[in-house]
Symmetry: C2
Subunit: 439 residues, 2 copies
């Protein structure tokens, strides 16, 4: 039984208990949200203990916003060890889940290696493997089902499947500035055009659902027509596919399979709220998993920032799961340090949005930091910092270890210190006044 | 006559003409906005040609959002050459204005050196110099007026003056988590407490206005009680000072002096819109100059990102001028590379917000980039990138110079390429169909 089916039977699974514990809510609350499809727990039975090391998480609006980091080798750069190191860095710097998007090297080996080591949910885009060493036109239903079944058996927790991109949507792409920017989407468009047939992932949806149900793999319904630039945002192509994704959400749930929906991409800041509302409406509250969105196109090299801006707005207005974008987006595969920057930037977005959404207890950490700053307690500040090591490194190295000031203003110009002294004097004055006169 | 007084007499100055040209609007439009106080042109008569090298800019909601970079030596680190280099980097990476916040070294020399070289407006916080080598308690009206007059004579274009922090506001600080985090604010609080008298900057306001009017220095009314953590945001202390700042806006305008108003600081994401609306209402549309705001407290080392997120929301909802925050905020004085990161992050915020506000022609640059991406034209992408050098450096160095793909997906997996090929095939098929049959 999947988490969804268990929840419908009012059963609380160990995974639901663990998610409740992490989120500091009751397990009945998590069960009810999973039952309604508002929260998913991507937890393949073969990745959960005792088969695997997964420590399950929940994804959905009623709980904290989650962050995904994309890993994976490409034909241009690939190494099993390199990807494992990136996995470690991703988790260390705030990723709640990872995707293995490998398109080069020994895909099976890299995936199994990552799955064996990942304590976080791991997702894949099976179509990538389907067309390694094979022209996309040669893709058959048998290859599709076999590949998905193998990923599921290996323990993959969620899969991006571009089931909502239909043949009838393709003419809408011609009007676009940047066309199709999703790899999976462009491959399926090629297949449909070549064969003049409907998207095979769409046609095989019931068979695929049966496989995912067996291992409790969560659908991540891919948006093959996500806009790849501001000019294409919220256009007919994007909206047409989203309507189909909304129908597939219902079909997945009817099949007992957990489901989330993927979203853009590139969106101007003022259109983000609208995009989030439309998705929640069309997809009946299925968790929205967005890539960014980036809010400007002219900042390659800094797209972790254009993306963190959009991701904060998205998480505030309706997204539940943020796929990171690294500084190397649009340019190359991320290095270990790009992974760090991407993870931290989107952890910031998730945290800022969760504070703004008023989730319980989320700001306690920030308030503790504010108190440490007011107390000029630097060791405590580094302890509370999300990345204390980096913060410590940026503090002026010339300062004595025990200095209770920083290099911004120096000791005597420190507003915190002046305020603290003023406060102390005020308190002393008050104390003196309240001392009873001597006899 | 100040720009404000000229505008009121319906005169279009050369500075207004230049601003109109930069913003691609009519000079009458700029004149009218300056006359209403909705746009300021910080342009000291001694910094404008022929006395100086200033190329004037406008700041206000009707035109593009501007970015400020803080420079300046501290007692801990100071060098004239270092600050000049930072000035160059700031302008190169998108600063529209700079502030010299020096509190160490030879303040007069550094300031004059920066002014002689700055083609962008330069601001100062004169109280810093007033208390170098002097306890703040020793500050007198004569020192205050003399220092402001000297800065004005030297060509400073705008000055932060904490005139709105009143004695009656100080008890409101006691309730705070982080007290006063503005250096100027804390110094004046100390003075007021020591002398048990009203803020001298407030009391001297008319005299100060007379000096600023003479050189056409723009007021940047400082927020000495800006919140220094999320817990203190939008509190009574902040709002009480803001009401006083609103009154001073009217008094400055009556004196013929241009005026903008400074704002926070640290604000949770969901309170930013409210903060912007309240300021615009209380300050009668005077340009709002915000520091960030940062939207989380636990990310020292990454506060250019927490700040860019808040700055985008601020610029979308009402701010006109964004003071950058660098990765070293809360830790130390920025290096040259911190200046670059801070400038780019806030240039992103300004640009994303201006797109969202629908300013004319602002997105053309992004659309050109989208076309270059779709065409796989890499040289053009680097040309259009805001920081093409950094973008070029991040692209996989192993790729041949003329490669029309990147290291993310490699050549064959490129969605852009697949889409382009599909489009070409579709067009060829259509062309073949439309060829008339041979005779």
């Amino acid at each position: 039984m999947t988490q969804l089916e268990s929840a419908r039977q009012r059963t609380i699974t160990p995974a639901m208990q663990r998610v409740a514990e992490r989120e500091n809510v009751t397990s009945t609350f998590i069960r009810d949200q999973v039952g309604r499809g508002r929260v998913v727990i991507p937890a393949n039975v073969n990745h959960l203990p005792p088969n695997g090391r997964l420590d399950p998480i929940g994804i959905g609006r009623p709980i904290r916003t989650k962050v995904n980091a994309n890993l994976g080798a490409s034909p241009v750069a690939s190494s099993k060890e390199g990807e494992l190191e990136k996995l470690e860095w991703a988790v260390r710097y705030g990723a709640d889940a990872v995707m293995d998007l490998s398109t080069g090297g020994d895909l099976n080996e890299i995936r199994q290696h990552l799955l064996a080591n990942a304590t976080v949910p791991l997702g894949t885009v099976p179509i990538y493997e389907m067309i390694v060493n094979r022209p996309v036109e040669a893709l058959t239903p048998a290859i599709i089902l076999e590949t998905i079944e193998r990923h599921a058996r290996q323990g993959v927790d969620f899969m991006t499947l571009h089931a909502g991109l239909l043949k009838e949507h393709l003419p809408l792409v011609a009007k676009r500035t940047a066309g199709i920017v999703s790899r999976g989407g462009s491959l399926l468009a090629r297949w449909m055009t070549y064969h003049n047939r409907e998207n095979p992932i769409y046609e095989l949806f019931d068979d695929i659902s049966a496989i995912l149900r067996q291992y409790d793999v969560t659908y991540s319904l891919g948006d093959g027509l996500r806009p790849g630039c501001l000019a294409d945002a919220t256009d007919q192509a994007q909206m047409a596919e989203l309507r189909t994704l909304g129908e597939l959400v219902q079909r997945a749930r009817e099949a007992g399979v957990q489901v989330m929906v993927e979203g853009p991409g590139h969106i101007p800041y003022h259109e983000i709220e609208l995009n989030m509302l439309v998705q929640q409406e069309l997809c009946d509250g299925a968790p929205f998993y967005v890539l960014g969105p980036v809010v400007a196109d002219i900042f390659p090299g800094y797209d972790h920032i254009t993306s963190a801006i959009g991701a904060t707005a998205a998480a505030f207005h309706g997204a539940a799961f943020l796929c990171y974008v690294t500084p190397r987006e649009h340019l190359g595969l991320p290095t270990r340090d790009d992974v760090r920057m991407g993870c931290v930037a989107h952890r910031i977005a998730a945290h800022a949005a969760d504070i703004a959404r008023g989730l319980p207890a989320i700001r306690e950490h920030d308030d503790a930091m504010a108190r440490a700053r007011a107390a000029l307690d630097w060791p405590r500040q580094f302890e509370l910092a999300f990345d204390g090591e980096t913060a410590r490194g940026l503090r002026d190295g010339a300062l004595p270890e025990e200095a209770d000031y920083c290099g911004m203003c120096g000791r005597d110009w420190c507003a915190m210190r002046i305020t603290r002294d003023l406060e102390r004097e005020r308190n002393e004055a008050a104390a003196n006044q309240s001392v009873p006169p001597r006899e």
